[in-house]
Amino acid sequence: MSSHSNPGRPVAYSKKLEKTVTAPGGTLTILQHLSLALFPGEALAILGASGSGKSTLLGLLAGLDLATAGEIRLFDQSLGSLDEDQRAGLRAGRVGFVFQSFQLLPGMTALENVMLPLELSHHPDPAAGAREALDQVGLVQRLGHYPSQLSGGEQQRVAIARAFATNPEILFADEPTGSLDQATGSHISDLLFRLREESGAALLLVTHDQQLAARCNRRLLLENGRLSSLT
């Protein structure tokens, strides 16, 4: 487990962030002059309609993509000055992800999918760590199952186990209940927030689900490329 950042300073931060893309009709501005700070242990929801740029913002803050202008800092490091490998190195073991489409590797069992980040962060016993993480999400009976043999809710539980396995400082969640029915979604949401509470990780949640967003400490609305506060 890596050391936590200074509790007084944001773990993720952006200032005057801008993202434009070239589209057939010309240049399209997705995000403009967007400033944001995510503090340690905080749960922040970004709400917005489909296509509003929520996932783009999440990708930029996690260092998966580069901004067109402005500054982004992750763990006090300016992402603009890092190349892709350095950004990946910054994430290793300190960032967890949960996606709408689960993003489990189809060729690996549930256990192996969870072992993956542990193996990469030099965990002394990845199998034991993964088993423990799967136990926390109630899937210890399904260790040897492949994603195709699991239901949608079970796949997302595996993804959550994988996200928390390394005890990350930030969890980025992109519509974690978007592919699930209401009951399963609610169960997954409970699990996500319980594990976050226990681990103390900061959460950046991107969703259009008001109920899910309501469980966060702070909520922001992304509209026309700009953020406005809802709380």
Partner: protein, 829 residues
Amino acid sequence: MNTLHFALRMFRRDWRNGELRLLALSLALAVAAVTAVGFFTERVQQAMVLQASEVLAADLVLSGHDAIPDRFARQAREMSLQTATTLGFPSVVMQGDRTRLVEIKAVSPEYPLRGELRVRAAPDLPEQRIRQTPSPGELWVGTQLLTELGLDTGDRLSLGEREFRISRIISRDSGDAANLFRLGPRVLMALEDIPSTALVTPASRVHHQLLVAGAPERVERYRLWAEDRLPRGGLSLSHMSNARPALRSALDRGGRFLGLAALAAVLMASAAVALSARRFVERQSDSSAILRCLGCSRGFILQTLLIRLSLLTLLASLAGVLFGYLSQFLLAGAIGDWFGPELPLPGMTPVVIGFGTGFATLFGFTLPSMLRLGSVPPLRVLRRDLGAPPANAWLAALSALAAIALLMLWQSGDMKLATAVMAGTLLTITLLLAAARLLIRLVTPLRHRGDSVWRYGLAGLARNPALTSLQLAGFGLGILALLLLAVVRVDLLNSWQRTIPEQAPNQFLINIQPREVQPLTRFLQQHGLENGGIHPMLRARLTRINAHTVSPDDYASDRARRLASREFNLSWSERLQADNRILSGQWWSPDQTDQPLFSVEQGVADELGIHLGDRLTFTLASVPIKGQVVSLRSVQWDSFRPNFFVIGTPGLLQNYPATYITSFYLPPGEEKRLAGLLQRFPSVTIIDVSTLMQQIREIIARGAVAVEFVFLFTLGAGMLVLYAGIQATREHRRQESAILRTLGLRRRPLLLAVSIEFVTLGVLAGLLASSCASLIGWYISTELLVLGYQFNPWLWAIGILGSGIGVGLAGTLATYPLVVKPPLETLRG
């Protein structure tokens, strides 16, 4: 966890869920093809050389007009080699008052060291193989001599101061094939009888031979030893590589056939490797994106990938080498008796080449696309449309080219062949890809016609033109392999076998005097003995090339030294013989026939350093004959027609004394006709080459079996290419089938649409492949193997129909499980 440990874990996971199986199988097949061919050709070529050695009756022969110094035999025995001695000279046998000039061959009891002697106890008794030589006091003679002198076995014959009993009729002496030009019929006798005949004195013109045979590496060591010690001018050394051109030509062609067959297999397997690697990259893109997300560097991803691929190559190559080794044993077991009881064991070189092929194939054909995995953007986890950036086309082409070039050189060891096949492959792939694009454009408008099933079927082709082109090119290559295997191979082998047609000339007549040309031609016509023309022949020595005096000491190679020291058979002609081909320069026109011009056979020109435009001086009885080289020719030596290294214009040569030579086909069992010919033309000498021809036919037959075996690998690789081609679109098809089923399309129309798509692909691939196969067959046949080639219309019929049905059926069957699978399972997948 270190990179290696992680890579090993990933490899185990890849392997377990079948990610690597197709890749491994393709790779193993490529390696198996190369190693099986390597092991097998090594053994067969050794065996072929061994068989060809039969023509010399040894692996190596030292010969000269003086007795061979003892140290040569001593050294051979010290090197644990077998030796035998022969003595040859012309003499006269007498029976009563009748005499006949014969060629005596006196042999030691060990003769022959290679090959065999076959004899008959009486003219009407069957031929039998015999493991002994004539006993003292006995002579073995040919049918020709018996017929001419009216003798039978048991009769007595005088030779020198002794009388001998004719104990057997000799019908085959392997060692005789190498020495075609004799003055009279062959008589075989024991070497120890020679002193008692008092025929050989120090002044006699006797041909001495020391025959040597044994393990190849020892023979080679002995050859090197002997070559350094050959007395200049007095002694010559013959071994397989400089034996009869006709045999060498057959062996060379055999080697080329095998090399081509192996290349075809490797190229096919490489195509399968490239196709399956593409699928692997596609499937690995998600893993790479997630790994990047989880914090892995590009270097780490590439390192683990390289380790996994190297491990895969090692294991697949190992399996391929083992399979190759075992399969060559199966084949050797099946045809072993044809090569005699002991087929030599293979060496380790093919193992090294096998592993080298594995690595070269995998990395050459896949590295550029594999490297893309390191550049999969991590953002793919949020946006599925982002994949690995396309591979640099130049880098991919360069890498594949380098791999092909390396493989070709290893496989053929022949730059010309390697370049030709490489150019052919590139051309074929480019043609296939370009034609595929064009055909897709042509069928695209059709998708707006017909019913929904038809529309959906054709839409499948236009869905992803790049992928369809690749798939079409893959199918095209697979079908090409099958067509080459099924049709072109047979045509080529037939062409090869046709080089010695059933009725190829098997008798040569030499020493025909000018005045006998007309009556002999008539005689042959009257007896229905067709001949390929009567050619003048005069013997002269090459003394100068331009201003330079020719001396054996100028040349390093044994063959060149011999050519420089002996007399050439020259001929003159107005027209180029049918089995000759001008390689450079021009044959003389009718108005140039009185100018001093020469045409030289390319091989001899290369050996002696003769170039187009050089002025040659030959000397005949101290008279110089000067002329300029205006053309270099290739000669089809195994046509068994009289051929000449050097031909001059009639104006240059026809005023010199010459004899004539011709050849004709004598059906077996009609040897008695020769007696009539000899009675009518007593000075003419008959040379029987049927034994040599039989040996060449056997070499071709065995070579053909070997080639067929090697082509089986091409067949396997072709099937793999087809399979990989079908698998290439499987992922897309799985999604589409599920969506279409969900939207209410029933299984039957869906399967019908899929079969329309695959049958169309198959027909197009068949059309392209048949055309390429014809061109390749024609090129290989005419340009590389110098054989005639006939276009086979069945190629198109079989190619288009077979491919349409085969690809259609295979594609539909492979898609069937996707269609019957509940759509929910796929969509949830």
